[in-house]
Amino acid sequence: MNIRINELVDSCNTVNKWMERFGVRFGVYKHGVFNEQLFPFDSIPRIISSEDWAYLERGLKQRVTALNKFLWDVYHDKRIIKDGVVPKEFVYSSKGYIPECEGISPKSGVYAHIAGIDLVEGKDGQWYVLEDNLRIPSGASYPMIAREITRKVSPQTFAWNNVAENRDYAKLLATMMAEMNDGRGISVILTPGRYNSAYFEHSYFAEKTGATLAYPGDLFVEDNKVYYAGIYKEKTRVGSIYRRVSDEFMDPLLFEASSLLGIPNVMQAYKAGNVALINAIGNGVADDKGIYYFVPKMVEYYLGEKPILQNAPTYLPYFEKDCDYVLKNIQRLVIKDVSEAGGYGVVFGKDLSGKELEDLTELVRTEPRRWIAQEVIDFKDLEILENDETVWHKADLRAFVVSGKDVQVWKSGLTRFSRNPDSFVVNSSQGGGFKDTWVMGS
């Protein structure tokens, strides 16, 4: 590929100035204190060839289709459990499994309308899925606005290079929301509010999709239907809610009673088929780190196809054979606590002291369901501009799959990189930066 990015790279500071101008931030709570930070942008894009993308696109569609079928199955027939493909302990002991969702049938059988699939590219060119995010995956707004800005700052770069458009993500979202809404009313994005870490994204998506940004207290349920309240008791019907509030806070009458973020009785309206929840409640059972192990098996089970995308080699201490392997090799594996997210609860055996290794070994032995272990993938470093010099750091890719009537993979994604040269952790909450992801035209 003949790519010309010099002009864009030289404009990195200007791009970051524009990011500041548009308030491209994310919030972090540290020691109970909320801080907003600019999300550092690196102007050297991650480049994916059209051939590689075609492969990823097929794999991502296949994986998300299987995950949606799994969710339907878990909350209906449970065939995959009865057939012994996924042990029932992994489903019913998952924090993400919500019994109240049993029997609920979302439109078109779609539970994960927006899936964020985290991938890394190994040094051998093989892509591996590290994690499926099916609850509230965030991050698409950053490459979206980055593209908007980089095209302004360096138009010539985009004249030189045949880069697939990525500013259509809002259209993908809006179309999917309209399909799920089915003409029942307005579509809203429900945000927990300004002090949510992804608030910028909530408000930016509302602006770009034409949906209404709803705050806690703006929505209410009457006769099993959801309404948006106007200032003087007027109301308008809501047909779909792209909710950025966690499951447990969505309905205080059914889940966390102290929640002020949710909508009392929304689950009743949802059960009655009067409102679409995007993503569905209860998806956590399918993106549980323990369930991840079974996703390739789901692909074969539901679709009768060989999985296109590979998982990172993973071991479940729950299985005796895997447990023995993990305990013998713990010092060279990465161990993940299945209940943690955002890069937390991830421990590299090689970084632990003898005492820490002993403690972790004991925990894995006594609470095997709580952990998964993975081989450390030597994934590709990407070029990062640091103080006018190029350095190489670890990076991943979060690809976004939008499922409505059709399953569509957004031709871009959030490339996050570690700002610490020795770290594999790329999460923004832990100081990482981001890049635009260029999918090249054929």
Partner: protein, 232 residues
């Protein structure tokens, strides 16, 4: 996508206070420039007058401290920094209504305020871009706000603040009456948010025969009514 024409209580509140705080930024800078000009000739008492009129508690010992505090002290509720931050706090909740382009003028203003505070910039001229961006903000908002009621609520806030400041700083009857007329033009587009009783009182008070800002009781009464006129 079906458009929502309703404005929630949260948003109405933000729109109103965004209008008020952004106007406060503009007027405070304007008044500070006048005060600053007087201080060049040694009229050091002038800054104390600011406190009295804004009902703020002055703790600054010198004109330099006063100038710096009025510009950058976020804990001083009368400062430009405090008003700009509060305008931003409200605007950030309205991105999809006012749009990112409009919001960006406030983002730039907050960033410039912080930068000037950091380098202890004492020359008020350094804040001129904030006045320019404030005007750009209003123009952009007027052009981009698709919901006219939302625009009227915000403009109502702007005009209430303008009137409030004119009264506090003893502007002439002509200026005050003009500002009150301007406020009423927006208010009557959204009659449901007006307290009719208070409007009646104001109509009676803001007429030439009754206008007397040297009468403290009169001034306080008009200020009280202005601030209670709108129910959001």
């Amino acid at each position: 996508m079906t458009r929502n024409h309703l404005i929630s209580a949260t948003k109405a509140n933000c729109l109103y206070w965004l209008g008020r705080y952004e106007e406060r930024v503009y007027i405070t800078l304007h008044l500070l420039r006048k005060c600053y000009d007087k201080m060049i000739d040694g009229e050091l008492e002038d800054y104390a007058m600011f406190w009295t009129r804004l009902d703020a508690n002055g703790v600054y010992q010198s004109s330099e401290e006063f100038t710096f505090g009025m510009m950058y002290d976020g804990d001083n509720c009368a400062s430009v920094m405090a008003a700009q931050t509060k305008a931003m706090d409200n605007a950030i909740l309205l991105r999809e209504d006012i749009m990112s382009e409009t919001l960006s003028y406030l983002e730039m203003s907050v960033a410039l305020m912080k930068e000037c505070r950091e380098r202890k910039e004492m020359n008020i001229i350094a804040l001129q871009p904030i006045i320019d961006w404030s005007l750009a903000f209003w123009g952009s908002a007027e052009q981009r706000l698709r919901n006219h009621k939302a625009l009227y609520i915000m403009m109502t806030g702007r005009n209430v603040e303008n009137l409030d400041m004119l009264l506090r700083f003893d502007y002439s009857y002509e200026r005050v009456a003009l500002a009150y007329d301007s406020l009423k033009r927006y208010l009557h587009q959204i009659p449901t948010i007006i307290d009719d009783h208070i409007e009646g009182q104001l109509n009676h008070l803001i007429i030439k025969e009754h206008f007397n800002l040297t009468d403290v009781e009169y001034r306080n009464k008009v200020l009280k009514f202005i601030n209670q006129l709108v129910r959001v």
